[in-house]
């Protein structure tokens, strides 16, 4: 890519060598370049965690907010200026744990944005506690007897909420992930991509090898518009993990339905005539 990559950040990245996050960053850059985006048109929004550092490592606009709170500011920014391409990059803890309520309602709100969850099934930044997606039995300092809670299934929840675009990838498959991101950006609605991302430091169960042994790409025989089949795919795990677009239900997003083809809020000015007419109603 070299110099043609206007998004590339040369500085130091505070991730462990071998972390899956590097590859996801790489895929994001590839998708943006391939889609012909300019850095000024793009906004990446994140919460807090290893995954959530990504906006700092991409040369474009960023909002690195609070742990669990990536989706609300992403909504606000997109609503204020819908010409922006908004990408949310978040961890499994950030998105499904601390931010779980926003995850549910952002799907219902369905604003046009791409949500990439770096799903390493662990809390990386805080050094290895269980996350909502940790497999049962995984031992950590805080779960010394192993995780006993039933794992959260983000894909199934998203399909149940009728999210318009639900996909899964594996960080090692950079081009495949980049392609999914590009599809998601073009999609026009809330698009979720849960990316399996090995945490080499803290997740000793779900390693590169573990994912590689199970992950397989969905073929053309999978019809992502069939909700029941999509849901069945979302539940596949131990025996094989499907990658690709799991579910698709095209429906107009928030910008298309609520904001419409108007000038962004950002460009609108106070209409004193209208304010005066509001005042007149008080007499």
């Amino acid at each position: 890519m070299g110099n043609s990559n206007a998004f590339h950040y040369e500085g130091e990245k505070a991730w462990c060598p071998g972390c899956g996050d590097f590859a996801i960053l790489n895929a994001v850059e590839k998708a943006l370049i391939h889609a012909g985006k300019k850095p000024e048109e793009v906004l990446t929004v994140s919460g807090i965690g290893q995954a959530a550092k990504l906006p700092h490592y991409l040369k474009s606009n960023g909002f690195n907010g609070l742990h669990g709170r990536a989706l609300p500011p992403a909504f606000g920014a997109k609503a204020a200026n819908h010409h922006l391409t908004v990408i949310v990059t978040s961890g499994d803890g950030d998105m499904y744990g601390e931010g779980g309520n926003h995850f549910i309602h952002a799907i219902r709100r369905n604003i046009e944005m791409t949500v990439i969850v770096h799903d390493n099934q662990v809390y990386g930044l805080t050094k290895g506690q269980a996350s909502p997606t940790s497999d049962k039995g995984m031992k950590t300092k805080l779960q010394p007897e192993g995780v006993i809670l039933t794992p959260f299934n983000p894909l199934a929840v998203a399909i149940a909420l009728d999210a318009p675009f639900v996909a899964r990838s594996f960080s090692k498959e950079i081009d495949f992930t980049a392609d999914l991101i590009e599809q998601a950006m073009r999609y026009g609605g809330f698009a979720l991509i849960d990316v399996l991302q090995p945490c080499v430091s803290f997740n000793k169960v779900n390693t590169y090898q573990w994912y590689q042994q199970r992950a397989y790409r969905l073929g053309p025989e999978h019809d992502p518009t069939d909700r029941a089949k999509a849901l069945a795919k979302a539940f596949e795990w131990d025996s094989g993990i499907p990658l690709g677009v799991i579910y698709k239900n095209p429906r107009p997003g928030y910008v298309a339905t609520v904001i419409g083809d108007t000038e962004p809020l950002l460009k609108r000015k106070v209409n004193t005539e209208k304010i005066n007419s509001l005042l007149a109603r008080l007499y």
């Binding site: 609300p72 500011p73 606000g76 204020a80 200026n81 106070v270 209208k274 304010i275």
Partner: protein
């Protein structure tokens, strides 16, 4: 002169609001000054609710603890308000309910429900009551007729006719049987006055101040602002979003703000608690936001529909870490309107959170005003001009006044980074001690400009007072009426009203209060939060604060009673209220 107080009482769902809306319009259009305060229980049906309407030729600032006319839509209303009735008070009631005998109180019975049924529907009882009230107040039926026409016109001619007939039945009944039982109002100049409540005033101020995005989660008593803005949002090009919770509401607004639009959130105590981390984010990410916190009394769920001033300490401190902020507490709807415009401007100018404190008394009470001037406060654009910003663009550039040039996302050729960590000038995470120090100092340099801004304390009353009151927010109204009453009784009194509480106007406060004897803060809380703030910021230790913490509005009578407790009855005897 004490004004006329008319109280409308009834169960939730009995049409109190309809009668009161119509009556208020009627009187405002006739040129009277009004103050209507609502006392609602937190329920949708039943219970006891009332609206107290003060009527006078001059502006009214606080409710009165007495009733001249009680309109009792049910018999419980008479029992509930018995203690406020005095000799000469009139009680309008349905003549089918036999009223109790109360010494000196005059009863005017109108068969409201029978008249309504005769007109065709029990709902016309409201119109019967309105007509009867017009007769009691001796204001004639011309205004009533035209108002009913205007109000029910949309529902068709038949609706208008039946309402008019019902109103006349009520009017005629009083005129015929109770010609002596009336209470005439003082003469006023014919003039149509504006009728506005604090929620409308704050909403209008925000919209005049350039609001583009509002997000909130419903919570009494703040919801009326959100409702009011939302009703006009589409028309004004504003986006209003009901968030899934207050955490989402504040973070949505911050995202919109980073994208360059003026934003506000509305909430009440518990919701504000949930916003705390977001407010801290606004502080460090230097993101403009206006937070209207309409206080409710008590911790946790408290008294959802009642009034109190318990959140001053909260907003002065909310959000971990340190960052500059504005806190305003306007005293009246008029002040709230202009303060809200300033708030929108100042958030943008200083890239900091701005709090607007209000309470149920402010947002729900209707008052009359002559006019609001939407050009009085200049709306200034504070986003930077991309052509004038030094390259490379740095969101948190260190500047002498602490304010960094702010560009919105999407500016050609520019990368804009907002960050919740301590960061470098370009928004990149840092742990470098020198940069951290420089960044903290930069943020706090804003205070130099902020203290010079609007909202300095204002003085009212005698310049050389024997008794001085200090108030904030809606305790202004009762304090002002107490000061007037004290001065009338020959006890020199004055007061300082604090609208801006952060950054605290310490210099001005010292000028007004340092050399005064007997300073008492007046506040709707138990602990005297303004008294604490005064001591902390100025070293002035005021006397025993005049407090109220039962969810009811402070009245002048309440203040005088408390002053008597502190200073003894002596000279306070002469006070007439």
């Amino acid at each position: 002169m004490p004004h006329t107080t008319l109280t409308l009482g009834g169960m939730a769902g009995q049409g109190l609001v309809t009668i009161s809306d119509l009556l208020l319009k009627l009187l405002a259009r006739a040129g009277y000054h009004l103050l209507a305060t609502q006392d609602y229980m937190s329920r949708v049906r039943g219970g006891h609710n009332f609206i107290q309407i003060g009527i006078d030729a001059d502006r009214i600032f606080a409710p009165q603890p007495i009733i001249n006319i009680l309109v009792a839509l049910d018999s419980r209303s008479i029992d509930e308000h018995r203690h406020e009735l005095t000799a000469g008070s009139i009680v309008l009631h349905d003549s089918d309910n036999k009223p109790p005998d109360i010494n000196g109180v005059r009863f005017a019975g109108v068969p409201m429900n029978r008249f309504a049924n005769k007109a065709g529907n029990p709902v016309y009882a409201n119109a019967v009551a309105l007509g009867a009230i017009a007769a009691l107040l001796e204001i004639g039926m011309k205004g009533v007729d035209s108002l009913l026409n205007e109000h029910f016109g949309k529902k068709g001619e038949a609706a208008v006719e039946k309402n008019v007939a019902a109103a006349h039945a009520g009017y005629d009944h009083i005129a015929k049987y109770y010609a002596e039982t009336t209470s005439s109002l003082p003469p006023v100049k014919q003039k149509t006055r504006m009728l506005i409540n604090g929620a409308q005033a704050i909403g209008l101020g925000m919209m005049t101040g350039g609001l583009r995005f509002i997000s909130a989660y419903p919570m009494s008593p703040s919801t009326s602002i959100f409702n009011y803005v939302t009703a006009s949002a589409a028309e004004l090009g504003i986006l209003s979003e009901q968030a899934e919770d207050e955490i989402a509401a504040v973070n949505m607004a911050l995202g919109a703000s980073a994208a360059g639009v003026r934003t506000a959130v509305t909430t009440s105590g518990g919701g504000l608690d949930l916003m705390a981390e977001g407010i801290s984010l606004a502080g460090v990410a230097e993101t403009p936001i206006v937070i209207a916190n309409i206080m409710r009394p008590g911790p946790a769920t408290g008294l959802p529909t009642r009034t109190g001033q318990e959140d001053l300490n909260l907003v002065l401190n909310i959000g971990h870490g340190e960052f500059p902020r504005f806190v305003f507490a306007p005293g009246t709807a008029e002040e709230a309107f202009y303060t809200a415009i300033h708030a929108m401007n100042l958030a943008d100018k200083y890239q900091a959170p701005v709090f607007l404190l209000g309470d149920q008394q402010l947002v729900d009470s209707y008052v009359t005003l002559d006019r609001l001037n939407i050009t009085k406060v200049r709306i200034k654009e504070h986003l930077a001009d991309p052509a004038k910003v030094p390259a490379p663009y740095q969101r948190y550039r260190i500047t002498p006044n602490g304010v960094s040039p702010r560009l919105p996302y999407g500016t050609p050729g520019v990368r804009v980074m907002y960050d919740s960590h301590l960061h470098e000038e370009d928004g990149h995470i840092t742990e470098n001690a020198d940069i951290v120090r420089a960044m903290v100092e930069k943020r706090f340099r804003k205070l130099k400009g902020m203290v010079k801004e609007t909202g300095k304390p204002i003085w009212y009353g005698n310049k050389k007072p024997a008794i001085t009151l200090a108030c904030w927010g809606t305790s202004y109204g009762a304090s002002r009426e107490a000061v007037d009453a004290l001065n009338r009784a020959g006890i020199k009194a004055g007061m300082a009203h604090f609208n801006r509480l952060a950054p605290f106007p310490s210099r001005e406060a010292r000028v007004l209060l340092a050399n005064k004897k007997h300073v008492h803060t007046v506040e709707g809380n138990f602990t005297g939060q303004l008294a604490q703030l005064l001591a902390r910021e100025t070293g002035i230790h005021s006397g025993m604060p005049v407090t109220r913490y039962d969810g009811r509005p402070i009245t002048a009578r309440h203040i005088i009673d408390k002053l008597k407790e502190v200073h003894g009855n002596g000279k306070f005897k002469r006070i007439s209220l």
